[in-house]
C-alpha cells in the first residue's frame, strides 16, 4: 500500500437523494474516504447510510452532487462499469450457481477466460476451498458471508462496499467475522466502506466512523474520538451511554468554564465544549458512566479537591460481573448512570444509600443545549429489542 496512490479515494460532493415520493433519504453531504482506510457509516435504520452506500455503488442515482473515485467521476456510470464491488445485506448469492461460479461471476463477465487459479486462491483466502462445488443454500450463514466477500474481492475493486454484512449472523459468529474482515482488509489494502447499525461493530473494525442521523453526518472521527468527544446529543447517546445535565454558564477561569447545575458547581474544559458559552447561557454537560466514582456520603470528606461532584441516592443497582451498574437519583438528573468496576466493593452501596458522585473535570464534555437531550436514545433501545 503506497501513500501517494489516491485511486481508491472516494469523494462525495454535495450528494443527496430524494425519492419520487418526496422522502429525502440523504441531505447534501460532502465526504472523503481516503485510499486504504476502513470506513464505517453508522446509524439507525432509515438514517440514509445504506442509500449513501448504494449511490457509491451506482445502484441508486443521486438527486444532486457527484461521486468521484480517485480522479474519475463515476456519478453517471451504471454499476457494472464502476470499479467498486458490494457485499450485500443477506449476501444475494446466486442460488442457481455453485460457490465456485458465484466467485467467478465477476471475472467471467469481464471476459477473463482462465479463472480457476484466481477463484481457488480467493476461496483459500476465505477458507472455503473445500466448498467450491456446493450451492449457497448448503452453506452456513458464516460461510455464505465469506463467499459474498470473496465474490466481491476477487475483482480487485478500488473500493469494497459492505452493507450490514454481519447483520444476519449470531453474536458469536459476528465477533469472529469482525476480526476476519479486519484481517482481510489489512491483507488486501483496499478501501472498505462498511454500513452498520451496530456501534460496537463499527468501533471494533473501522479506523474512521461517520455517525449518520436523518440523512446527515452528525460527526466523523476515530472511534475513540467520537466516544470521548461527542459533538451532539445524538452521538453522545447513540454511541454508548451518556449522562447529560442541563447547566448554566457561570464564569470562566483560565481554560475552564464554571457551570451551575442544581445547587452545585461543575467545571468543564473549554476545549471540550462544542456549544457557545456566554455567561448565563445554557449548556448540556455530559459525562460517561464509567468515568464516575461513587463514594458513600459518610466518606464524602475523603474525596480529593478539584473534582466535579454531585450528590444523590442509589435508586437501583445491578451486578453484571465485570462491573456494577448503578442508577442514581439526584436533584440535577433523575437517572444518573454509573458503572463501577468490581475492584473493592463497598457493602454500603445498596439502593437507598446516600452517595456522592465525583469525576475528573477533564472527562466532562459540553454540548449545545438547544438540541433534543434524548436524541439517539430511542434508537439504541430499538436495536437492543
Amino acid at each position: 500500500m503506497t501513500t501517494t496512490d489516491n485511486s481508491g479515494d472516494v469523494r462525495l460532493s454535495g450528494i443527496s437523494k430524494t425519492y419520487d415520493n418526496g422522502f429525502t433519504a440523504v441531505r447534501p453531504l460532502d465526504l472523503t474516504v481516503p485510499q486504504g482506510s476502513f470506513f464505517a457509516l453508522l446509524g439507525a435504520s432509515g438514517c440514509g447510510k445504506t442509500t449513501t452506500l448504494r449511490m457509491i455503488a451506482g445502484l441508486e442515482e443521486p438527486t444532486t452532487g457527484a461521486v468521484h473515485l480517485g480522479d474519475q467521476e463515476v456519478t453517471n456510470l451504471p454499476p457494472y462499469k464502476r470499479p467498486v464491488n458490494t457485499v450485500f445485506q443477506s449476501y444475494a448469492l446466486f442460488p442457481h450457481l455453485d460457490i465456485f461460479e458465484n466467485v467467478a461471476f465477476g471475472l467471467r463477465r469481464r471476459g477473463i477466460k482462465s479463472v480457476k487459479k484466481q477463484v481457488e486462491d480467493m476461496l483459500e483466502l476465505v477458507q472455503l476451498g473445500e466448498q467450491a462445488r456446493k450451492k449457497p443454500h448448503q452453506l452456513s450463514g458464516g460461510q455464505q458471508q465469506r463467499v459474498a466477500v470473496a465474490r466481491a474481492l476477487i475483482n480487485h475493486p478500488k473500493v469494497l462496499l459492505l452493507d450490514e454484512p454481519l447483520g444476519a449472523l449470531d453474536l458469536k459468529l459476528r465477533r469472529q467475522m469482525q476480526l476476519e474482515l479486519k484481517r482481510i482488509q489489512t491483507e488486501v489494502g483496499i478501501t472498505f466502506i462498511h454500513v452498520t447499525h451496530d456501534q460496537e461493530e463499527a468501533m471494533t473494525m473501522a479506523d474512521t466512523v461517520a455517525v449518520m442521523n436523518a440523512g446527515t453526518v452528525e460527526q466523523l472521527g476515530s472511534p475513540a474520538d467520537l466516544y470521548e468527544n461527542p459533538q451532539t446529543t445524538f452521538v453522545a447517546n447513540f454511541l454508548g451511554t451518556s449522562n447529560l445535565i442541563e447547566a448554566e454558564v457561570d464564569t470562566k477561569s483560565g481554560d475552564d468554564i464554571v457551570l451551575r447545575a442544581g445547587g452545585g458547581k461543575l467545571v468543564l474544559p473549554e476545549a471540550r465544549c462544542s456549544a457557545p458559552t456566554t455567561a448565563g447561557g445554557k449548556v448540556l454537560v455530559g459525562v460517561r458512566p464509567e468515568k464516575i466514582s461513587l463514594t458513600h456520603a459518610d466518606d464524602a470528606g475523603e474525596i480529593a479537591e478539584g473534582r466535579n461532584r454531585i450528590t444523590g441516592r442509589i435508586a437501583d443497582s445491578s451486578f453484571i460481573g465485570v462491573s456494577t451498574q448503578y442508577v442514581i437519583d439526584s436533584p440535577v438528573c433523575p437517572e444518573f448512570e454509573v458503572y463501577a468496576q468490581n475492584i473493592d466493593r463497598d457493602a454500603r452501596l445498596v439502593p437507598g444509600a446516600e452517595v456522592v458522585l465525583h469525576w475528573n473535570p477533564a472527562h466532562t464534555f459540553g454540548l449545545d443545549a438547544a438540541q433534543d437531550i434524548d436524541a439517539g436514545v430511542a434508537e439504541v433501545e430499538e436495536d437492543a429489542a
Partner: protein, 309 residues
C-alpha cells in the same frame, strides 16, 4: 484524514446542478406488455364486444344479421331457458360444496400429515390431468353403470330411494340423472379446489397449532378458530375456480346426464353450433357471464379477500 461538512448551497464546481434523470428504458414495460396485451384485446376483449352486438341483432343466416337493438332476445332467452340457468347454478353450487368437503381433508392431509409421502400424493392429485378429461369422464359411465357395483351398493343401502325422493336420481339408475352430472362435475373440478387449499394451508406455521393447543383449544377448536380462518384465501379461490367452470360446463351434462339435466352450456352450444341462432346464443352467454361476474364480485366482497387476485 477524512472531512465532512454540510454541503453549502451548490456553488462549488464539484456539485453540479441536478441532471435530467437517466432514461434507462422508460418504454421497456410497454414493449414487454404490447404483444400479449394486444393478443388479449383482439382475441378476448374484442370478441366480447362482438358478442354483445350480436345479441341485439335480428335477421337470419341467409339474409345476414343487422343490429336492431332487439333486446327482446334477452327476455325470450331467459323465459325459455330459465330452467337450464337454474340447473347450472344448482349443479355447480352442489359440486362446489362437494369439492370443498372432499378436497379439504385431502389438502389438509398433504399439508400437515403426509410427511415423506407428500410429493407422491401431490403427483397423484395432478397426474390425472394428463389423461384427457373426456376419457376420464367417460369412465364414470362404467363406474355408475346401471348393473355396476356402485349402483348395486347404493340400492341395497336404500340410498337411491332417498336421492330419488329429493329428485336427484330416477328409479334404480344413477346415470342420466342430476346426481351423475354433479358427481362428474365434482370429479372434474376437484383438483382446482385441492391445489389452492393446499397452497394456503401449507403456508400456515405448524407452531400455530401448538400455540392454540397450549392456549387450551381442543383439536377441533384449533381447526375452527385457527386453521380454517387462515386457509380462507384458499377456500375462496378454490370455490371460485370450481364454481365458474362448472357453471359453464356442458360436457358432464351431455355425457353423464339426459335431456332433463341440460345446463345453460348445453343450450349455448346447441344454439351456436347446431341451430345457428347466433343472437340467442350470444344473449345466453352474455347473461351467463354477467350472472357469474356479479356472483363472484359479491362473493369476493363478502369474504373480504379482495387482494386475492
Amino acid at each position: 484524514m477524512a472531512a465532512v461538512t454540510e454541503a453549502p448551497p451548490p456553488l462549488a464546481p464539484t456539485a453540479p446542478e441536478k441532471k435530467p434523470p437517466r432514461k434507462r428504458g422508460r418504454m421497456v414495460p410497454y414493449w414487454l406488455l404490447l404483444p400479449g396485451i394486444l393478443w388479449l384485446i383482439v382475441f378476448f376483449a374484442l370478441p366480447m364486444i362482438y358478442q354483445a352486438s350480436t345479441s341485439v341483432q335480428t335477421g337470419s343466416l341467409e339474409q345476414g344479421y343487422k343490429v336492431t337493438w332487439h333486446f327482446a332476445t334477452y327476455w325470450d332467452a331467459l323465459s325459455e331457458y330459465w330452467p337450464q340457468f337454474l340447473r347450472s347454478v344448482l349443479y355447480a353450487g352442489a359440486a362446489t360444496v362437494l369439492c370443498l368437503l372432499l378436497g379439504y381433508p385431502l389438502a389438509y392431509l398433504i399439508a400437515f400429515r403426509a410427511g415423506r409421502w407428500r410429493n407422491l400424493i401431490m403427483i397423484l392429485v395432478i397426474a390425472p390431468f394428463f389423461t384427457s378429461f373426456l376419457i376420464r369422464t367417460l369412465a364414470w359411465k362404467t363406474i355408475l353403470a346401471d348393473n355396476g357395483p356402485v349402483v348395486h351398493t347404493l340400492n341395497s343401502l336404500h340410498i337411491l330411494d332417498l336421492t330419488s325422493w329429493i329428485g336427484w336420481t330416477a328409479g334404480d339408475r344413477v346415470l342420466a340423472t342430476p346426481l351423475a352430472v354433479v358427481c362428474g362435475l365434482t370429479y372434474n373440478f376437484l383438483p382446482f379446489m385441492i391445489l389452492p387449499l393446499y397452497t394456503s394451508l401449507e403456508r400456515i406455521d405448524g407452531r400455530l397449532h401448538e400455540a392454540a393447543g397450549d392456549l387450551y383449544a381442543k383439536p377441533f377448536t384449533t381447526f375452527r378458530k385457527v386453521t380454517f380462518p387462515l386457509s380462507m384465501p384458499g377456500v375462496v379461490s378454490g370455490t371460485l375456480l370450481t364454481f365458474i367452470p362448472a357453471a359453464g360446463d356442458y360436457v358432464n351434462a351431455d355425457l353423464l346426464g339426459s335431456t332433463d339435466t341440460r345446463m345453460v352450456g348445453n343450450v349455448i352450444q346447441t344454439q351456436f353450433l347446431r341451430i345457428l341462432d347466433y343472437p340467442t346464443a350470444a344473449a345466453l352467454s352474455f347473461i351467463l357471464m354477467a350472472a357469474i361476474l356479479i356472483m363472484v364480485t359479491f362473493y369476493i366482497r363478502r369474504s373480504g379477500t379482495e387482494d386475492l387476485v
